[in-house]
């Protein structure tokens, strides 16, 4: 009888084939969920970005209000009905030229139709409709004339708003912070440290358990080990699987996300996104390492599951709670900064989304580097311990 004399020492191809066969459906399902989640998030964020823009329009707003102010004065003086609405039709430019010339002569300003148009163009970058600015001007103009009956101080729309909010029990300070809040960065943080992690965490907990501990517990490992396959080969083959699978899944998710970003945005920070997903992969591997080690240490499936799953659930929950301690959440009034201590109690806290997303921008914050190095260290240590332990321990087969 013909016999192959080779003994699998470090890697077993048939075992890998078997591992892939029995796990690919779960892996593909999780990947689909992650792709869907990433791209829906991306779409939602792109919608938010079009509603609000970060462009600073204060200067344009000032000059726009100056024009509106002079038009208002001109109208009352000459009984005319010039307005922004009328100007926007573009039919009456000559009348405006006259008006501005007259106002210039009176107040020593440099008003012109072109200047008015520039201020309108500049202001429209804000993404807020010009009508709203006109309306706000109306309020300010109406109130400017009057002052308080008792304290003789000028009344302003913003003053009125502050008082109204105070009466309603909402701190005006918070409202101000809310307006400064960066929803895109908050959504990013939420996606990368919580929502995006959940599916792949579930996957690695199940995989790590089923690759070693479950097979030992059920006894089917006996069929693998009663062939000329060393234990180290079994451990390393499964290790390769659990390193490659998250990489492939995150690569696909990252690729589709970059792809859809080009659809939704004009400018895409490819390097930054690669860095974020790269960091996520390192984080996933660190958690995966812990689960794999548990799977190698324990011969009972339930113990391995309790160890790996328990730690992973804790990491995830702590990261969720920690999210409510993040600056963005605190600013919106939905969090307390004390909760940020939870970020120090989870491995997810070592995945610094804010500093990673600076990659590809002008000023790179390198604090992510040492944090990721710790994660790499944890992963390497856990995998090593797992392989050695599995090769040396007594198996109840």
């Amino acid at each position: 009888m013909e016999k192959n004399k080779k003994t699998a020492r470090f890697f077993s191809k048939p075992l890998m084939r078997q591992t892939i066969k029995s796990n690919w459906i779960l892996c593909v399902a999780i990947m689909m969920i992650m792709v869907l989640l990433a791209n829906v998030m991306n779409y939602a964020m792109s919608m938010m970005a079009t509603e609000r823009s970060d462009v600073d329009v204060t200067e344009y707003q000032e000059s726009f209000y100056t024009y509106l102010g002079s038009l208002a004065t001109y109208d009352t003086m000459t009984k005319q009905e010039l307005s922004y609405q009328d100007f926007a039709t573009g039919k009456n430019d000559a009348a405006y030229e006259t008006a501005f010339a007259m106002m210039n002569a009176k107040t020593n300003m440099k008003l012109s139709v072109k200047g008015f148009q520039d201020s309108i163009d500049g202001l429209s970058q804000s993404g807020i409709r010009i009508d709203k600015y006109v309306k706000q001007f109306e309020y300010a103009y109406a109130l400017k004339e009057s002052e308080g009956v008792f304290d003789k101080k000028a009344l302003t729309p913003s003053g009125m708003l502050t008082i109204t909010l105070d009466m309603m029990g909402v701190s005006s300070e918070m409202v101000e912070k809310m307006s400064e809040m960066d929803p895109a960065s908050m959504m990013n943080q939420m996606y990368y440290t919580a929502m995006g992690l959940l599916p792949i965490f579930i996957l690695i907990v199940i995989l790590a358990n089923s690759l070693i501990a479950d097979q030992v517990d059920r006894g089917s490992m006996a069929y693998v080990l009663s062939t000329p396959t060393k234990r180290s080969a079994v451990a390393i083959t499964q290790l390769v699987f659990i390193i490659v699978v998250p990489f492939l899944i995150l690569s696909v998710v990252c690729a589709t996300r970059i792809g859809t970003s080009f659809l939704f945005y004009d400018k895409v920070n490819v390097a930054g996104m690669l860095a974020l997903f790269g960091g996520m992969y390192i984080l996933v591997e660190a958690v995966c390492g812990l689960c794999y080690m548990g799977s190698c240490l324990f011969s009972q499936s339930k113990k391995s599951m309790a160890f790996g799953g328990g730690l992973t659930v804790w990491f995830f929950l702590a990261s969720m709670i920690g999210l409510f301690g993040s600056e963005n959440m605190v600013n919106t009034g939905m969090g307390v900064s004390e909760l940020s201590i939870f970020n120090k109690l989870t491995l997810v806290g070592l995945y610094d989304v804010n500093s990673l997303s600076t990659i590809g921008t002008g000023s790179i914050d390198f604090t992510f580097a040492w944090k990721l190095l710790i994660l790499v260290g944890i992963a390497a240590a856990c995998y090593t311990v797992g392989v050695i332990k599995f090769s040396k321990k007594d198996l109840p087969l």
Binding site: M1, K5, T7, S22, A222, Y223, L225, S226, T229
Partner: protein, 304 residues
Amino acid sequence: MSVIEIHDLTKDYGHGRGVFHVSAQVEKGQCYGFLGPNGAGKSTTIRHLMGFSKPQIGRTLIDGKDCWTYSAELQREVGYLPGEIAFPTGMTGAQFLDMQKKMRGISDVTYLDRLLKRFELDPDIGLKQMSLGTKRKLAVVTAFMHDPKILILDEPTSGLDPIMQEIFIDYILEEKKRGKTIFLSSHIFHEVDALCDRIAIIRDGKIVSEFDPEVLKKESDKIYRVTFEDENQWKAFTSHNYTFTSINKPKLRARIQLKNSEITSFITDISQFHIKDFTEFPFSLEDYFMQFYHEDRKFEGVKQ
């Protein structure tokens, strides 16, 4: 050199479970039976032979190589039939056999096909859908597919129907003739009796007796039952100085256990009586085994 050597193997799992100072040798072409009740340490010993566990004291060798250090290399010559059948999930029997073939690097399937035919196994069903008997058959085929020199069988016929048991025992006897070395554990007396050249009885992790069943059959005590017609004769007989295992007055019977040396005098004695019935109880391994088992019971009784 013995093919399988177990030297002073000790593995203490605590609470008195495990194996303690077990030693055994199996020569080439021999069939060695490990007989013992559940939890006596049969599977633990086999676990060490397979290199799944590391001995605390002592060592186990196959072909002169340490079972722990060379576990993977030794599998080429060893066929292992586990006591508990647990196949991987989500595949058919054929796919499973295919995977095992690849893991063993077998390209020639004629022997495998012969096995499938012999055990009347159609592997083209999902492993989950298989009945226990079919699973056992598949396990048997898997263990022997590479035509190994050494067979390690953990309770091989449990779960097989009587016809399959017959086929299996025939197969093992054939393999024995082909010069295979066989180590089997069992608590089924007749299979051990039919197959083994040498039997060890293990109880509470210790070997309590090791013997050759043929020799034992020749040398062991004979048991006879004698029935009398007349009460006086019965009384006279029972007053003899023999070892009576039981005396039954209403039926005028006596059961008597004799050493080989006593038989001649016994026959001389018995010829002087009027006997209604005389029966010999053939030696059975079961009785011999039960003897150890009962001794154990008695022991516990004393301890209490």
